[in-house]
């Protein structure tokens, strides 16, 4: 049976880590016992201070061995870049690991890493799980859940729609890195932010297919852009006429000669003054189950009266991992995916 409180370590204190620290502090189902920071200058500070809340009494450290020596049930591992060696050391030290980045379901692309992780789980008697918002939820758990009401499923389409005008202004800083505001020819000629991402997302596609008794044979990719029909001024950014104002990345996972799971990443800086006139609409996820009956589910931030908040993408990402922690701690050793973790009933959300 589950414990009344899980001892957790927060690994890295970026946007996801801060959200997790705040949650671990507020939710009596968790006790924060350690926090790792990659930047030595942040070491020795109170984790609460870094997360923008009252002091927690837990001081951050940059010392990996000190973290490994702690008595803890689980590490929420949310660095900017995953390091399999570190994950395996944590697992071997007897701590379960939950992450919102990189590893969601074992595919051949990451076979060597999963083999290492699985071996470390066996050695440490621990479990590993990856869950977030996408990958890790909108494009795998949601379609699998929705399959439940389908008579026949022909194809799953998942559209991630990000309208940067719905985000906080911090998000606009990523526009140049993402290939906005440049000539479409230049966009085509260089790698973009999502060029390599399809292999990460293909884990979700494999999870759906294998969950439903199929295999993904291969994944093909395509990207299209829309260009501004006039200069578009944004807070702190300008999209000159003729440059990239929206992008649609399409990743198609094929099974037995047919597209079975298609992911679209639709990024735009608005819904006007661009060609083609895509009008993706507001930031949200659309999960379209083609077949009988044709069914659609939309996931979005709720607009409540008198409340306008930025899109909750980061909180969704962190919580998609964090809420699974108790179930992962209780699971038998090994890599745990949505297919075998059961119906997760998050602890301590109503408080």
């Amino acid at each position: 049976m589950s414990k009344s409180s899980y001892r957790v370590i927060q690994w890295a204190t970026g946007r996801l880590g801060k959200i997790a620290i705040r949650h671990f502090t507020e939710n009596p189902a968790f006790t924060l016992v350690g926090a790792y920071v990659s930047n030595p200058e942040k070491a020795g500070k109170d984790a609460g201070e870094i997360a923008g809340i009252a002091p927690t009494g837990v001081l951050t450290t940059n010392d990996v061995d000190a973290i490994l020596a702690l008595d803890a049930d689980c590490v929420f591992y949310s660095p900017a870049r995953s390091d399999v060696e570190v994950i395996c050391r944590l697992l071997r030290s007897g701590k379960n690991v939950v992450t919102s980045t990189s590893f969601f379901y074992p595919t051949d692309d990451f076979r060597a890493q999963y083999d290492q992780i699985e071996a470390a789980c066996r050695e440490g008697g621990t479990s590993f799980h990856g869950g977030g918002i996408h990958p890790g939820y909108a494009g795998d758990l949601l379609p699998l859940t929705l399959t439940r009401i389908m008579n026949r499923l022909d194809k799953v389409e998942v559209h991630e729609i990000v309208n940067f005008l719905d985000e906080d202004t911090e998000a606009l800083e990523h526009l140049p890195l993402m290939g906005f505001a440049i000539d479409p020819k230049e966009f085509e000629s260089r790698p973009n932010l999502l060029s390599g991402a399809y292999k990460i997302f293909a884990q979700s596609q494999a999870m759906i297919a294998e969950g439903l008794g199929r295999k993904i044979d291969n994944v093909t990719t395509r990207v299209e852009v829309a260009t501004a029909t006039k200069d578009i001024a944004l807070p702190g950014a300008l999209i000159p006429k003729g440059t990239v104002a929206a992008q649609r990345h399409e990743w198609t996972a094929w099974s037995e000669g047919k597209p079975l799971v298609v992911f679209y990443a639709c990024y735009t800086i608005g819904n006007e003054d661009m060609e083609p006139d895509w009008r993706f609409g507001k930031t949200r996820y659309r999960v379209i189950m083609a077949g009988d009956p044709p069914t659609e589910l939309v996931l979005q931030g709720a607009e409540l009266p008198g409340e306008h908040l930025p899109h909750p993408g980061y909180t969704w990402t962190a919580m998609g991992g964090v809420t699974a922690i108790p179930a992962v701690c209780e699971a038998p050793p090994g890599v745990v995916s949505h297919l075998n973790v059961g119906l997760v009933r998050p602890l301590g959300l109503v408080r």
Binding site: L297, A302, P346, V350
Partner: protein
């Protein structure tokens, strides 16, 4: 892995039963081995004929004892109203039961019935599971799944919206019995179509609350009506000005601290014009909102093409929510199975062709 087949009996041949028959015939995971009918004119008829598909070589029968004596894994139990003794008989006869008709989650209100079902399961070595689209999916499984990406849950609100104006001409014959076109006083004075539903929705509320570690202590019930501001012609049914043209049923599940934790709304309307007040949730059929940190929502609708209208597929969704769980029910240890017991159900044979 060899594909295991499940031998199923369809119990009744109404709207849900027909969907069940068509699915069992179409999906190679199932073998339809028997069909229970309850009227003499259906007795002996081919199940395919009753379901509007090609003959399948299985005849419906009114001889329930013969059906119970058959070798079968599961009964898809779809009568208009659940009969607990009949369910128990099937379970004791060694057949698992999958049902969209009631008994969705054990609460104290029906503790005696659930005790009977549980005992029959243990006796027959069988399992029972009840679900559907709502109750059974939208108002219980979906809120629990949505809670997965939430840091704090203050309140769960679930909306069912039926806009009869969306080509649901078939609804005309129910308009009067549903209380459309009568004065508000008359509407409130008589039982309405949803008066009895509270017992079923309360089970969904309990499943959500208990999934989140709380209890529903009591459920309150209120209704608001929308009145026609002028005569509204709905096909050949007239809703006179000043009478009921929309209804908003609200069931509020309070937790042990008296706080509203789970609120279900059912909104039935003939459209959005010439009605006051208007409850327009847009072009959706179900909406699940978690208020908290962050506040998030899911909208569920049919995904249709040209006219952009997402139609509801309530009957198919309801039947399939149950049918798709049949393999998991059959493979589970004996007893009453909730969503938490079943975990993530992986429907079999849904991707075919």
């Amino acid at each position: 892995m060899a594909q295991q087949k499940y031998r199923v009996i369809q119990w009744t041949t109404g709207t849900l039963g027909k969907i069940g028959i068509r699915h069992f015939v179409d999906n190679p995971v199932y073998d339809l081995v028997g069909v229970a009918a309850f009227s003499a004119d259906k007795d002996g008829k081919d199940a395919g004929e009753l379901a509007g598909v090609a003959p399948v070589g299985v005849n419906a029968t009114t001889d329930l004892d013969a059906l119970l004596a058959m070798d079968a894994d599961c009964v898809f139990y779809t009568p208009q109203q659940a009969n607990v003794d009949e369910i128990c008989r099937i379970l004791r006869a060694g057949k698992n039961v999958a049902s969209p008709t009631g008994y969705f989650y054990p609460t104290t209100t029906k503790a005696e019935d659930y005790a009977k079902i549980e005992a029959a399961c243990q006796e027959g070595g069988t399992s029972y599971h009840g679900s559907g689209i709502h109750p059974g999916f939208v108002g219980d499984l979906i809120p629990l799944v949505l809670s997965r990406i939430t840091s704090r849950v203050d309140k769960v609100q679930v909306y069912e919206l039926v806009n009869f104006g969306h080509s649901l001409a078939g609804a005309v014959k129910y308009m009067h019995s549903m209380g459309f076109g009568v004065t508000e006083a008359e509407f409130r004075a008589r039982p309405n179509v949803l008066t009895d539903s509270i017992q079923f929705f309360a089970e969904s509320m309990a499943q959500v609350a208990e999934g989140l570690g709380r209890k529903i202590a009591r459920v309150s019930d209120e209704i608001e009506v929308g009145l026609a501001t002028k005569d509204i012609q709905f096909y050949d049914f007239t809703i006179p000005a000043g009478t009921v043209a929309a209804q908003h049923h609200i069931w509020t599940g309070m937790d042990e601290d008296g706080k509203p934790l789970v609120v279900f709304h059912a909104i039935y309307t003939v459209g959005y014009d010439n009605i006051e007040p208007v409850w327009n949730l847009g072009d959706i059929h179900y909406k699940v909102v978690i208020e908290g940190d962050p506040s998030s929502e899911m909208l569920l609708s049919g995904h249709d093409g040209a006219d952009g209208i997402g139609r509801p597929y309530g009957y198919v969704w309801t039947a399939m929510a149950v049918v798709n769980a049949i393999p998991a029910i059959c493979d589970a240890p004996p007893g009453v199975l909730t969503h938490a017991d079943l975990g993530l159900v992986r429907p079999r044979g849904v991707v075919r062709g």
